[in-house]
Amino acid sequence: MATVDLKDLTILSALKLLKEKKICSKELVEESLKQIKKIDPLVKAYLYVDEEGALKEASKADELIQKGEEKKLLGIPISIKDNICIKGLPTTCASKILQNFISPYDATVIEKLKAEGAIFIGKTNLDEFAMGSSTENSAFFPTHNPWDLERVPGGSSGGSAAAVASRMGLGSLGSDTGGSIRQPAAFCGVVGMKPTYGLVSRFGLVAFASSLDQIGPFGLTVEDTAYLLQIIAGYDPRDSTSAPIDVPDFLKSIKENEKTSYKIGLPKEYFEGEIDAEMTKIILEIIERLKSKHHIKEINLPHTEYAVATYYIIAPSEAFSNLARYDGVKYGFRAEAKSLIEMYKKSRALGFGKEVKRRIMLGAYSLSAGYYDAFYLKASKVRTLILQDFLEAFKEVDLILAPVTPTPPFKIGEKISDPLQMYLSDIFTIPVNLAGLPGISVPVGLTSNNLPVAIQVIGPHFKDEHVLSLAYQIEKEVNMKFIPPILKN
């Protein structure tokens, strides 16, 4: 048997080696668990590691592989963000209020991955209830960026991004409401995609903002990411916002479009904003190289400057409603109290963290009598304008290229005391969720202090295959392997 070097593997290459019997799942999972024991005390990506369960599944997988069973993820270790339910395992949402909650059922995406033989190595850290951009809002501990342990991995799916970057598992699932997959993917030098709203079922994803949330994959490569998306996508009658459409063959599309020339738009408003100069240089260099194959032109998204305000009214309003269920009655933390109302207030005051409370309050305010028209209804109308900007743009171009973040990964503690500063850093990812479009983050380079830089590809509704195809072309053009220094020792 060849020895497993996690730095050389992707999901697709591991599947090949497993099929050819050059490695076995037990080795692969053992190496991943070893990696977690070595690296996770520093990175802290995991809230829960299922060592016993993973090894058991690995043995089962090896038996099936021996028998010639061919499932799409048989024997492959994957991590899952801790706001997605796996039956029998904890789902804490990185919150004290769900600290002891054990999922009574599998999310649809988990059922689909299980059916293909995936092995769940553990649950990853996040900002509490997916509210945040740095994973510093986790009630338990922050996750550290594997590229520089003093910096944030991004959020809210920081644990997932850091785990994949550190080769603690070969892929992951996260969730993206305002950038929570794309931004940590950018900060950690991995690929992360938010599919078109409705493409992936939200059944079993703990809801934050129901009209914005989507589950999506993290991978080391665009193809791995497309491969995971293929398995989790599709209509689900248990999610009333699930799209009744056929899922295209993503890997096939990537292959078919390897040489396709796209009409690509660069939003003027995004590139004239305040972005780190070195990052901009790296991104513009890659765009320059793409000009030989694609038709690239400037486009306008005139309502960009209103996106952050729009999002931070709508998302908290939906969260106010979705988090009303955490009342200490049927599950979750219940405080000692003499009356019902005291029980509600104490349980929620003690169980929720600062950022969650802030957003619940913002939501309540925006929806309350006297303010509903000026805030929630107004924001919903501006949302239409933002959506229309994209629909107009897509009349002229096939796809849009944009930065993912205005800065490289910032230091832990740098933005946490100023919520508004943190919110403003979501400027390039938020509009995509407001419009329900597909978006992917692909690493394109490193700054002079060895921090990952990424580019975002945004597409029209249900053109996820083209978003992936351009991302694949970009990845090939960049032709770099992103291995955090922490792994090279």
Partner: protein
Amino acid sequence: MAISLEEVYKIAHLCRLEFNEEEAKVMVEELSRILDYFKKLQTLDTEKVNPTFHTLRIKTPFREDEIKEFPYIEDILKNAPQLFERMIVVPKVVKAP
């Protein structure tokens, strides 16, 4: 300040949250800064614009009224804070006459 201390206490009650005076004062400052930022939306003319509540244009899907198996009851009860047999114990909600 865009929001007053009194309003913070009122909103907290709507949220079924509670704050001590120190926390409430911090909330006043933080929420005021954020609410001030939201004012920029007022500069846009949205008189003739319809709101978007969902980007996916589908009708609410209905299912057949068929009885299905639901095998998760024991798993659900495992998460209850306090059980009496198979019932969840809660504080008294109805006052005795």
